[in-house]
Amino acid sequence: MTNEVSPPVPLAAPKSAGRMARLSEFWFYFSVNKGAVIGFGVLVFLMLVAIFAPVLAPHAPYQQYREALLTPPSWQTGGNSMFLLGTDAVGRDLLSRLIYGARFSLFIGLIVVTISMVTGVILGVLAGYFRGWVDALIMRIMDIILAFPPLLLALVLVAILGPGLFNAMIAIALVLQPHFARLTRAAVMSEKNREYVVASKLAGAGHLRLMFKTILPNCLAPLIVQGTLSFSNAILEAAALGFLGMGAQPPTPEWGTMLAEAREFILRAWWVVTFPGLAILITVLAINLVGDGLRDALDPKLKRS
């Protein structure tokens, strides 16, 4: 307890200043990549849309306008200014459903990445730190998960657990998690024998402290990049499960599920198919742009050149 007392006030100020400096250094490298900045802007916009969905959406997402089935977008002949992007087969406003859909996709991404990252990092740290049979056991299990195509494994898991958004998220998290475990293990192994770790060990730090306070913070860069990649992957996979009828169930305004419902109208009403897919593409693209920018900004190898 004695060496855990909070530092005196004068020391705290330079520490936060250092953090600011690091943050601005990071932004300097991140903003070199124009695409990343655009992606970041789009992502912030989507988050705002998701948060303020009830304010922004012109209609309720489940409200059916029986007199306006499959109304084309407002700029087309036959369009109605009440429904900017048109309506679907049961007369629900497409724009409102897309706005609410942003909530689902971002929420799915966030939860899946959190679950898979936390479990993957813990397993990876354990494997890389202890090596030996712990390592062998954990890595063989990861190999087994990776031997199945991700979407197929997720599908089968959902078939066992029962279709639905929550089960789909668990299945996707399980499928994405080995990537974090492998990455963490490799990073921990390369850090483990560095001097600062040995010094900390000699100073009497226990296993837990060495693993999670000494080593892990120095392995974060690749994990953050993998995190963004998994974020976009999770959104894509969840949409794919929804499209195959194994994810979010109708009438949930999840983008993949909306596409599945729209499939039979593809040759009659292009808008019910085009817009949900476009929403998925834009979201995933924005996240991937941010991921590329993060990789450039956090990868010291690229920074030097």
């Binding site: 695409g35 063989r140 299990i141 190999d143 087994i144 031997a147 199945f148 195509p149 991700p150 979407l151 197929l152 599908l155 089968v156 898991l157 078939a159 066992i160 029962g162 976009s232 894509l236 949409a239 794919a240 499209f243 195959l244 009828g245 194994m246 993949g256 596409l259 499939r263 593809i266 040759l267 292009w270 198919v273 085009t274 949900p276 897919g277 998925i280 593409l281 995933v284 693209l285 996240i287 991937n288 742009l289 590329d292 050149s305």
Partner: protein, 335 residues
Amino acid sequence: MFRYIASRVLLLIPTFIGISFIAFIFIRLLPGDPVIALAGERGMTPERHQLLMEQFGFNRPIWEQYFSFVWNIFHGDFGTSIASKRAVLTDFLTLFPATLELSICAMLFATIIGIPAGIFAAVKRGSVFDQLSMGIALVGYSMPIFWWGILLIILFAGILHWTPVSGRMDLIYFFKPTTGFMLIDSLISGPKGAFKSAFSHLVLPTIVLGTIPLAVIARQTRSAMLEVLGEDYVRTARAKGLAPRRVIGVHALRNAMIPVITTIGLQMGLLMAGAILTETIFSWPGIGKWMIDAIAKRDYVVVQGGLMLVALIVMTVNLIVDLLYAVVNPRIRVK
């Protein structure tokens, strides 16, 4: 080299046990039991339930079931479909060529465009071509392919009428399948026009399935190429006065291709098994659609056997990739 191969093959044993265990255990994890799940909402009499449990062997001790499952696999018996009453392996072998044909075409499409695009982008780093192609690659990489497939159907099948909407072949053509690859079969034994039909059915699924590998390969080729172009030996080759084409084509490309080949191999393994979405959209009669249908029909013996077969294929392809990698890159073998 022999020791390397042996150690890689030995590593497969625990993976195989794990895979077979997962495929085995999952139908036993279903709420209730597989027979009740199969009956669904219709229900069944207790006598019939008892009979089916005995017939499928679900009432035996769990370890006994597992060992007979693995034993049967080694004898080529992956179970019998509850719905179609055919052997799972027979169905798999009938449908697999369709998936293989589609995967090979998609991979050819992706490599033939992706590698040159990646090389040009790296050599002309920062140019309009570089920015444009990498922009497109990122869009392709972010593409929800089920939506991409639908868009292509709307455009090329719905509006332009250039290609058919789904399937592998027009029904008016009938011929004996010899290889299982429609493109080859229709050429050697098909009637006039059959090859054209097979080809036009294949175009859209190929593009859809090949989109993400294309993006991955282009990006990977570019970054591998950039890395190699910064190496000392490339500078030496340039300083010697070699023609740029020779430096890029011989010195740089050879080393840059090593990670790219690995990527292609790993993508191939995933493609063969993961054509689920593409096959569903285009009603392509392959493994992916077969598995989806089995899941929907609750034919859990097929799901179990199919999962096992698919994992075995991915495992084998990954092994081959690893071994090829060791052949191209001797540094791996020594470790």
